[in-house]
Symmetry: C2
Subunit: 230 residues, 2 copies
DNA sequence: ACTCAGTAGACTGTAGACGATAGCCAAAAG
DNA sequence: CTTTTGGCTATCGTCTACAGTCTACTGAGT
């Protein structure tokens, strides 16, 4: 056992660098999702390496991973290009996410625990507060936290991992909609909590399916509007 | 237009090596799934490189990718270890695969086309022939092909990609069961074809869910039996 | 038996070099 | 004038070598 005599938390836990490839990965993902790197753009290894102050190797490993997760396309002997999203792919991602989230809700209802219900209620309250204060960023964050909690209570790590991947990509396509939509969906969250609390798997399934379907509809509304404008 | 005057196919089209990391990836995946590399085993980069006759770099990139797909665990500053499957994870994978396959069946029913139905019937016939001839390998292959065809007809690339990943991992845990199970499930395949042909999404969903549930049950039977033996 | 410094093995990252490949463009051939 | 050829450039794919660092083990000393 450690017995340094120091109170916990006083030592700043000198920053562990962690594998460099991880940080490069994070940095690139941030650049892509923030659209600083635009879809279709050619990512030159040496440029990225120079820009980030590292050598080519960590960059290559990060690109490798980004490629398996669908963020960049790796063309042999040409290099990495930021993936270009399409309407079709966006819709497919929404379908899959809806499927995964719905299953998570069902499983969560099967595993309902008092503590878990309370956590969901707390997160819901946080979200509703944020709505009242018109703090869009906080609403979006609370919404993500709520869904993550449901996913966690489903108790299926494989499901959670896939959902996390899909979710992040959806969010990339979808950022503008999420902001307008987040403001109006908290009533459905309450209904879901009731269903989970009463261990009603059918109701949880139905509510989550409707919830995700609304999301998908609002995505399409927006896409159609954008198309009409053009 | 090409006009070499050469009849097609006479030129052997000298093999292009393709990126080395791909071949290393394929080789390692084969070694893992064939259990030549055992779960928990430490994969030393230099050893693999030497054994495969390549340098460390392609090995590292292959390991990177295997790690994102769950085949190996990458512990920082220690290296790569073949992922150790657990009963819990196997069950979670089966749940997720069932979910994805069921959705695929539903979508396929919505997209039913004459040509597609015919392809499914053909594959089904191939499988039944293999059963009659007691060719277990052919049965397993036909079963995989049938499910892949359903997935393809669902017309959702994202879904298909996730399913392919999950499916391969399931198969790793599951190989012995698949062999005994494959022999008895072709009647359900016929039922599924009927449901798809009549565009009955509800029936397709129900049948595929039952089908995957049977699979899961036989997995657990076997796991329980193995536990009882031990 | 326990502690702890030292050491070996392995990973992580850097640097430089070389051949291979795709895309482009100008010059030569028909 | 059109097509083909050849060469040029940027970049990738790979290899080699080396330095830094982490982990786990070992063994002496208490």
């Amino acid at each position: 056992m450690l017995s340094t005599g120091l109170p916990q938390g006083t030592v700043p836990k000198l920053e562990r660098p962690g594998p460099l490839r991880e940080r490069v990965y994070d940095a690139l993902l941030e650049l892509i999702t923030s659209r600083a790197l635009r879809p279709g753009q050619h990512l030159v290894e040496t440029e990225l390496a120079g820009h980030l102050g590292v050598s080519r190797q960590p960059v290559r490993e990060a690109l490798q991973r980004l490629s398996t997760e669908g963020w960049v396309d790796l063309r042999p002997a040409q290099g990495a290009f930021v993936h270009e999203p399409t309407e079709e792919e966006a819709d497919q991602l929404l379908v899959v996410r809806a499927l995964l989230e719905t299953e998570a809700a069902r499983l969560a209802a099967g595993n309902a625990s008092g503590r878990g219900i309370q956590r969901l209620k707390d997160l819901c309250a946080v979200g509703e507060d944020a709505v009242r204060e018109d703090d869009v960023d906080a609403v979006v964050a609370a919404n993500a936290a709520f869904h993550a909690e449901v996913m966690s209570q489903a108790g299926n790590a494989v499901l959670a991992e896939l959902a996390a991947q899909v979710d992040q990509r959806v969010r990339w396509y979808y950022t503008p909609v999420a902001r307008s939509r987040g403001m109006q969906s908290w009533e459905e969250h309450r209904e879901l909590i009731d269903a989970v609390a009463s261990q009603d798997e059918a109701a949880a399934t139905r509510i989550m399916r409707a919830h995700t379907e609304h999301t998908r509809a609002s995505y399409h509304e927006r896409a159609d509007r954008a198309e009409a404008d053009a």
